[in-house]
Symmetry: C2
Subunit: 348 residues, 2 copies
Amino acid sequence: MSEGAHQPLSEGIPVLGYGLGPIGLGVAALLAGRDGVTLVGAVDIDPDKIGTDLGLLHGGGKNGVRVTSEVPAAPPGGVAVHATGSGLVDVAPQLEELLDRGWNVVSTCEQLVHPWSVDAQVALRLDALAHDRERSVLGSGINPGYLMDTLVLMLTGACTAVRGVHVTRVVDTNARRIPLQVKAGVGLTREEFVRRARHGRLGHVGLRQSAHVVADRLGWRLDGYEERIEPVVAGEPTATGLGVIAPGDVIGQRQRVVATSGGRDVIQYDLEMSAGAEATDVIEIDGEPAVHQRIVGGVNGDVGTVAVIGNLVPVVADARPGLLTMADVVRMAAAVGLIAPPEAVAAR
Amino acid sequence: MSEGAHQPLSEGIPVLGYGLGPIGLGVAALLAGRDGVTLVGAVDIDPDKIGTDLGLLHGGGKNGVRVTSEVPAAPPGGVAVHATGSGLVDVAPQLEELLDRGWNVVSTCEQLVHPWSVDAQVALRLDALAHDRERSVLGSGINPGYLMDTLVLMLTGACTAVRGVHVTRVVDTNARRIPLQVKAGVGLTREEFVRRARHGRLGHVGLRQSAHVVADRLGWRLDGYEERIEPVVAGEPTATGLGVIAPGDVIGQRQRVVATSGGRDVIQYDLEMSAGAEATDVIEIDGEPAVHQRIVGGVNGDVGTVAVIGNLVPVVADARPGLLTMADVVRMAAAVGLIAPPEAVAAR
């Protein structure tokens, strides 16, 4: 909530929490302190949570909302905060049930940030259902959803032309939760890192989605996409949340994306997540004028994801029906005209 | 236009240029090179321009659009780019005529960025007319309109709470057009600067509007607003577009705004425009998490204004009817709920 002399609010948006892990509960805790929203329901599959008071789960006082296993019917204008998984195909049935029960949905699902680039069939089906039910569905988060896509588009809003964008995000894994440190490969040997990376068991999900959100909105049809992942290796003994890592072993990862359009490199992402790295977010826009933007210290992804999702609740409540992207939320970018929407691109 | 493999565009937005000074012609030149928009008319009061081909005026080839003194009737979905003056009351009759003739409007008028804080009567009348005609009206530009307001709101989108914002914009007047150097007081004596500032003949217009756009959207009711202007004085002989300035004379200005809500300083703006200053834009958000953002080299205001206005043409063509603010364009910010729109605040 923004502090200060607050506007009085006439009524609240009814919110359902769906998926009560750390992020889902974080959003619930945030919304519990805000005017203009009311938590009205909570859904989870964990037997230990079902029947419990939601307020107690998110660390506030009792709020009389009991966790259920079934999705309740939505009151008018209701928004479900969906926070269960990263994979589009896995969560699609959950999203369909929420729409069927009348909820608008804002979701942390990384692949839902640009579902057409993951599985166009599933995306088109979700879009059709959302239109049919006159509800909105949006995937977002700090990354993908905000830093490498929406903020980029916003910064191009002051440009007359854009030739390319390059985003560098450096995350100090020591400042983040342990599961993220594990995901980044901290503590592995080089060999184990390479083995896991080859099987897709390391690395951040969502860079491809960010690239598509940017490209669609700027009018670039991507015809090439390359993503590489490599270990960051300790040069000296390095303290981490998983203990001290010996020189030669892994303290994190670097991911690099290069996306091309018409034979040109138009999008480059460099994401480093490693122990003790100096956190920063840098967006460089090669355009007229060029923009060199830096967020000193970066944006903390754990707090940031909760914030982005929570801040989108009223946006989704008030949005057009259908499957949305963040380009619907931040309309301004360095492109003009009737840009083909993602569903039209997917249908080609 | 964003370069690369462009989406095919089915049809264009008809655009009218209204006011053909440097900015109006700059936007026309930008749009002439873009898919999805078609320049269909041009209006100016200058007898030397009336009857001339618009394409020749903006430095392109002939495009068959002749400058007229009368506003033509709008084709469906038409957008007028209005670029005549900074004062709301001065331009209101022009905006009303454009609405009456069926145009949506995007305007460079600084006070139109938040007209309710200038003259609520005029704002409410414009809003009513725009609703009646089912057209949209929006004031924007690089500043006010983008850097100190919309970009600030966007950055709060990753925050769970915001206690205050502080924006510092430093402009090197040597890199800008001569009229801006004159406006910043370059070449004046200290005494002359003070005299002119006292009569409101120096200083940037629009800081108050930016403050209100931010405050409305974050839910802060401003109960105090202070704006000061002081000269930047040469310490040594300084080269400027107006000649070498002697030590002790003025090479620019500093403007400072402090806005309060509920007794707290919630918004601080520092705007320096002086010869040889190191250009930068810094946004500091005191919130959770804190955000420290810097645009190295700043955003050039001349190119930037043309870009922002040009990029808003399709946004305005597709917006809800009524008098809009940039908070309608960038929906995301660190506040939730049914924030009172500016017209409701003005009507209290």
